[in-house]
Each structure stands twice: as C-alpha cells, then as structure tokens.
C-alpha cells in the first residue's frame, strides 16, 4: 500500500503543491510588503544614478567598511586563485589524457581517476568556495552597515580551510580517496573544513543577527541561507559510513546537487544581486520578484539531486520527484533572469564600459542557460541520451565556470581595488582575461556538448558497437582541451594581475609611510 502510494508519484505532486502554496503564502505576506523601493537600500538611500558618485560622507563610510575586510578578503581570494591554478593544471592533464591516453601514465598519482578528482575538489572547495566566501565577507559589512566583529576568526578559518584542502587533495593524489563523487576527500579533511566553515560562518551570521538595518537586502538572504545550508550538507554528506549501496548513491547525489544548488548558486546569485545594480547605479528591475526567486530556489533546487540516477536502480518515485522539481526550477530561474537581465539590458552602455560588470552580466546569462539546459535534460527522454556522457561535463562547466566562476572573476575585479584602495595596474589585462574566458568557455561547452550528445546517441544505438561511442568523441575532446587551455591562460593572467596589484598596493603603502 505504502509502496503503491509512493510509486504513483502522488507524493511528489502533493509536495510540489505544498511547496507552491508555502511560497505563495510567504510571497503574499512578505513579498508584497517588500516594495521595489527596498531595493534602493544598497545605495544607502541615495538615489544617485551612478553608484560611486555619492556624497563624501557615505563614500568615506563605505571605504572604511571595505578596508575593515582587507586582511581576510585578500587572503581568501588569493588562496582561491591558487586553487584555481592548481585545479586547472589538473584539469588540463585530465583533458589531454582523454585523447592521448598514454600521456603521463607512468606516474601513479597522475592517473586519470586521480587528477580528475583533484581538479574537481580543487576548483569546487578551493577556488569556488573560498572565492564566494571571500566576496561574501566583503559584501556583508556593506549590507549590514557595520564591520564584522571577530573577523580574525574568518582569517583563522580561512587558513584552516586551506590546510584541510591541501591535505585532502594530497590524499586524493596518493590514493586515499573516499571513492564518492564530490566527497572524495578523507573524513579528517572534511571535518577540518566543517570546523573552518564554522569559524567563518559564525562571525558572519553574528553580524547579520546584530544588524539594525531596516531592511536586509536580498543578497543577505541568499548568503545567510547558504552559510546555514553548506555546513549541514557537508557534514551529513560526508558521514559515508552510515549509508550503503543504493542508499549511498541517493545521499551522494542529494549532497552533490545541493552543493551546487544550495551553496555555489545562492552565494553567486547573492553576489550578482548586489554588484549588478551597484555597478550600474540603478536598483534591481523588480525587487519583490527577487524574493519569489529566493524561496522557490530553496524549495525546488533542494530536491533535484536524484535526476543523476535516472535509469538507475533507485526507487522510481524518488527519481520522479527530482524530475518534477527540476522542471519547477524554471520558476526561480525566470525570476532571477528577469531581474538580472532586465537590469543589465536597460543600461547596456554602462555594462559595456566596465569589464568587471561584463563578467558578472555574462555569468548571469550563463546561469539562465545552464539552468534551462539542466531542467530540460533531467527529463527521462533527454537524460537517456545525455546521462553517462561528456554532455554532463559540458553542462557542469557551463554552470560552475560560465556562471559561478564568471561571477567570481567579475566580483574579484570589482572588489579587490575597493579593498586595497588602488586601481588595477593594467586594464587591458582584465579585458584580455575576459575574451580568453568567454571564447574558452564557448569552445569548451559547445565542443563537449556536441561530442557528448553524439556519444550518447551511439551508446543508445543497438547496432553501433560501444567502440563507436568512444571514437566519435575524440575530436570534440581535443577541442575541449583547446578551450581549457584558453581558460588556463586567462587564469594565469588573472593571477599575475592579482600579484601586480598587491605589489602596487605595497608600494603605495611604503610611499605613505615614508
């Protein structure tokens, strides 16, 4: 009886309905009371069109808040960049190995299964996680109108996080992987990351809690929720000993997709929700819509994970729930898309002249694309082709690179000069990085997407030998390496530029002291 009820997918339909009602209720009670004027809070009640042309007193206060975050923001972003470089070297090696299988085979620690894993963990927990934390800890003081007390803990947490990652990645290369996708680092490393995350989250949450601001801007909502979600998810996901078999696979993908949906996505969206209107100097298109986006994202995104197991040996109804939820994701995605894109398109001239903003606006566009793509290929008919192929890898990079990393690059270019109170030494390098990144990611996603699609079709064709599904991908895998190389050169330029601005800052400091 229980089984039948579930397998009828009645549960999923009911849950969706409850979800929609809850969102409708919250939206009705709170969303409506949030007028679009509340979106002006980031301008500090100042209606100036251009963001930085504010009165001197306000400018002084922001400058003071920015400077209060200097120590940990620069440290976190710099270390994130190091992990980005390490991760992209590993990614390049893994990519080359797929079309030149005898490349570096003599070294056990560089075997495909290990460098690929190094790549994922380095960019996910090093680059993206430390990056979004770095930007968020810069953002919070501006939004709660007070510097974060106990920011020393953020710094200590950051150091601890880096040690944990270095250890965890080393363990992966040496063969001590836990063997579960997205959760490969050994438990001691995960536990250290969780503690480090706590050290970072507590001062941040405390400063939100203490805040006397009349209205907390929507970015705070996203960051607050993400800071609560990630430690819980990460700890439960890593308690691998409690699960086994098929159930372990469910926990695995419940975690892994929530790491994207409830950690990288809300953090990146929170950042975009601030910097897009801020840099343009006009409020977000429809501020009240942003709350519909927030709640629906939370409700639907948290349940999509099992679409990774379509056609697998898991109960059908769980898969169905995840597919329905994936389709429901259109609601938050459209809400965010309307807000981000309408704000940007109404002021295209400003977007064009600021490279940092261009990164973020394009990142937001790629969020829309990746989400629409993700929702569609969670359908059984499309998943049948794309699952188990490089298409998924292409999609993952459209999300993690095109969306999250683009937002992070843009945010870093926007934030670092404010924190250091000095401009980027070479504007042309930012532009160069931008073009390398956009051309690189387009090559990457398009080539791998087509290759993966063809691979899937060959695999589904009973008359084609398995061999054909491998051979058909080779030229596309080579194309991917070219795309990846462009991205890598972009990272090197970003890193170099980062060092140059730090040197410039050091020189100005020295100049001031003398």
């Amino acid at each position: 009886m229980f089984e039948t009820l579930l397998s009828l997918s009645g549960l999923s339909a009911i849950l969706t309905l409850i979800g929609i009602l809850v969102v409708a209720y919250i939206f009705y009670n709170h969303g409506m009371s949030i007028s679009n004027r509340s979106g002006m809070v980031i301008f500090d009640g100042d209606d100036q069109v251009h963001s930085e042309s504010i009165d001197k007193k306000t400018a002084k206060r922001w400058q003071h808040l920015d400077e209060s975050t200097r120590g940990h923001v620069i440290y976190l972003l710099f270390m994130a960049t190091i992990w980005l470089l390490a991760g992209s070297v590993a990614g390049m090696i893994a990519s080359i190995k797929l079309h030149h299988p005898n490349f570096l085979t003599q070294y056990e620690f560089l075997t495909f299964g290990r460098v690929r894993t190094f790549h994922l963990n380095s960019v996910a927990y090093g680059w993206l996680s430390l990056g979004v934390i770095g930007i968020a800890t810069w953002l919070l003081p501006r939004l709660v109108h007070a510097s974060i007390s106990g920011s020393r803990f953020i710094f200590v947490g950051g150091v601890l996080w880096n040690i944990a990652i270095a250890g965890g990645l080393g363990a992966i290369l040496l063969g001590f992987s836990e063997g579960v996708e997205w959760l490969e680092m050994p438990f001691w490393s995960d536990l250290t990351i969780a503690i480090a995350g706590g050290l970072i989250a507590i001062p941040a949450l405390h400063s939100i809690n203490r805040s006397k601001v009349r209205h907390l801007y929507v970015s705070v909502w996203y960051i607050l929720a993400a800071l609560l979600w990630f430690p819980i998810l990460f700890l439960i996901g890593n308690m691998t000993k409690f699960h086994q078999g098929v159930e372990h696979a469910l926990v695995n993908w419940w975690f892994a997709h929530n790491a994207l949906g409830l950690w990288f996505t809300p953090m990146s969206l929170g950042i975009a929700y601030y910097i897009i209107p801020k840099a343009i100097g006009r409020p977000i298109y429809s501020y009240s819509l942003s709350f519909l986006g927030f709640w629906t994202l939370a409700l639907f995104y948290s349940n999509v994970g099992v679409h990774h197991l379509i056609g697998g040996p898991v109960p059908n109804y769980v898969v169905t729930i995840s597919i329905i939820m994936s389709m429901m994701m259109f609601v938050p995605v459209i809400a965010v898309a309307v807000n981000h894109h309408m704000t940007a398109f109404k002021h295209l001239a400003i977007v064009k002249e600021q490279t940092a903003l261009r990164f973020i606006v394009l990142g937001a566009i790629m969020y829309t694309l990746a989400s629409v793509q993700g929702s569609l290929h969670s359908l059984r008919s499309l998943s049948q082709i794309t699952h188990f192929t490089h298409y998924t890898v292409s999609h993952a990079h459209l999300g993690a690179y095109g969306f999250a990393s683009f937002i992070l690059f843009g945010a870093a270019y926007f934030v670092i000069p404010k924190v250091l109170q000095t401009n980027w030494p070479h504007r042309k390098l930012i532009s160069l990085h931008f073009y390398l990144a956009i051309i690189g990611i387009v090559i990457y996603v398009v080539f791998l997407g087509i290759g993966g699609w063809l691979q899937g079709q060959k695999m589904l064709d009973p008359n084609a030998a398995f061999m054909e599904s491998t051979l058909v991908t080779i030229p596309y895998l080579q194309g991917r390496t070219v795309g990846g190389l462009l991205l890598f050169i972009g990272h090197a330029i970003f890193f170099l530029h980062f060092i140059l601005i730090l040197l410039k800052y050091k020189n100005t400091m020295r100049g001031k002291h003398e």
Binding site: E3, I26, H30, K97, H99, P101, N102, T105, Q106, Y107, E108, T111, F112, G113, R116, T117, S177, E178, G179, V180, E181, I208, L216, W221, L224, A225, L228, I232, T240, K241, Q244, G245, V246, E247, A249, V251, N252, W254, N258, L262, A298, L299, N303, G305, V306, L309, G311, G312, P313, P315, V318, I321, H387, F388, T389, T392, L460, D461, S469, T470
Partner: protein, 192 residues
C-alpha cells in the same frame, strides 16, 4: 523578522529535502530488499581489489548500473539486467558511477573472465583494445629479468609483443582483476 524567517525557512526546507530524497527512500529501499536473496559477498581478495578500483578512480569512466531493457541497449551489450537495491547490499562506498567513457562493468566478470586479458589490458589497454582511450597502469606491474616462483607473468609474447624483460603483475593488479572477475550478476531475474 526577515532573519528569523530565512533561518527557519532554510532549515525546514533542507530537512524536507532530506526527508523526501533520503529518509523516505531509506525505508522503501529496506522494504524492497529481499534479505534471503542477497548476492554473496566479495572474497577478501576481491574486496582488496575493490579498494584499488576506488583509489585509482575507475568509477569516473565506468558505471556499474546497466539500464533496464526498455531504456537502451545495455542488456544487448551483455552488461546485464537492470540490478535492484539488493545487488548493491552492503557496498560502501557505492560505485554506481555516472560516466561511460568506458563500458559498464556491472557484469564484466561474466562477459570476460580471462585473467590474462584483464592483466594485459591494465598493463597497456591498446594491446588488446586498439581503439581504447583507457590509460595504462604500468605502475601496477613490475619488469623483472628473472621472475620468481609464484609470479604471475604477462603472456605478452603470445600476442606477438616482444619485451626485453618479463612483465609481472603486482599484488594490487591481481586483486583488482579478481574483483573485476567477481563482478557478475549472480542470477538473472525474469524480465519481460
């Protein structure tokens, strides 16, 4: 007000998703598993081999979850029937995989039980599968001028490959192959 709403809402939503995707399935999977019909556990050597499979990251190119007959030609390729929860009973970590750069291995022991084939394939895949893009694992083998007693020697000469030294499989390579050979669907369930 907003902070409390976000905090409580966020936690409830996360708990809800945990209940829907993890807790409820936990019970329904437990009900599904027929405990009298669980496939035999792996031999000790195969379990060591499974550890090698995990530490080398085989799962990133090989799935262990053939799809249902109505959902693609997996069965026709000899990859086996769609397994059930019981087929994975006790496996930790799971190795279902999400990628098929190489073929599914759920039933590889049935499809290809040859020790020599697997050893040579691990030593240099392209010797037995010319189009393969699987990496070679030379570090799982040793080159010896004078093999000792009990060494498992790769019969490369039979394949027309000349090597100066004898290539001998390490314990890890042997464990891994034993694991692969034990990967078979024990009984074929009736399926239409």
């Amino acid at each position: 007000m907003n902070k409390t709403l976000v905090t409580i809402g966020a936690i409830i939503i996360l708990a809800l998703s945990g209940i829907v995707l993890v807790v409820i399935p936990h019970f329904s999977i437990l009900r599904q598993i027929d405990h009298t019909n669980i496939p035999p556990v792996l031999s000790e050597q195969a379990q060591r081999g499974r550890a090698v499979y995990i530490d080398l990251g085989c799962v990133y190119c090989h799935s262990q979850q053939p799809r249902h007959k109505n959902f693609g030609p997996d069965y026709l390729r000899g990859w086996g029937h769609q397994p059930e929860a019981k087929d994975y009973f006790g496996q930790n970590p799971h190795q279902l995989g999400t990628m098929r750069t190489g073929p599914d291995l759920f039933n590889i022991g049935d499809r290809n039980p040859s020790l020599q084939w697997h050893l040579v394939h691990l030593y240099q895949p392209q010797l037995v599968v010319p189009w393969s893009i699987m990496p070679a694992f030379p570090f799982l083998f040793e080159e010896k001028t004078a093999p000792e007693e009990g060494d498992v020697i790769l019969k490369l000469a039979d394949m027309g490959i000349e090597r100066e030294n004898t290539v001998v499989a390490s314990q890890r390579a042997l464990d891994l192959v034993v694991y692969l050979r034990e990967l078979k669907q024990k009984e074929k369930p009736d399926e239409d």
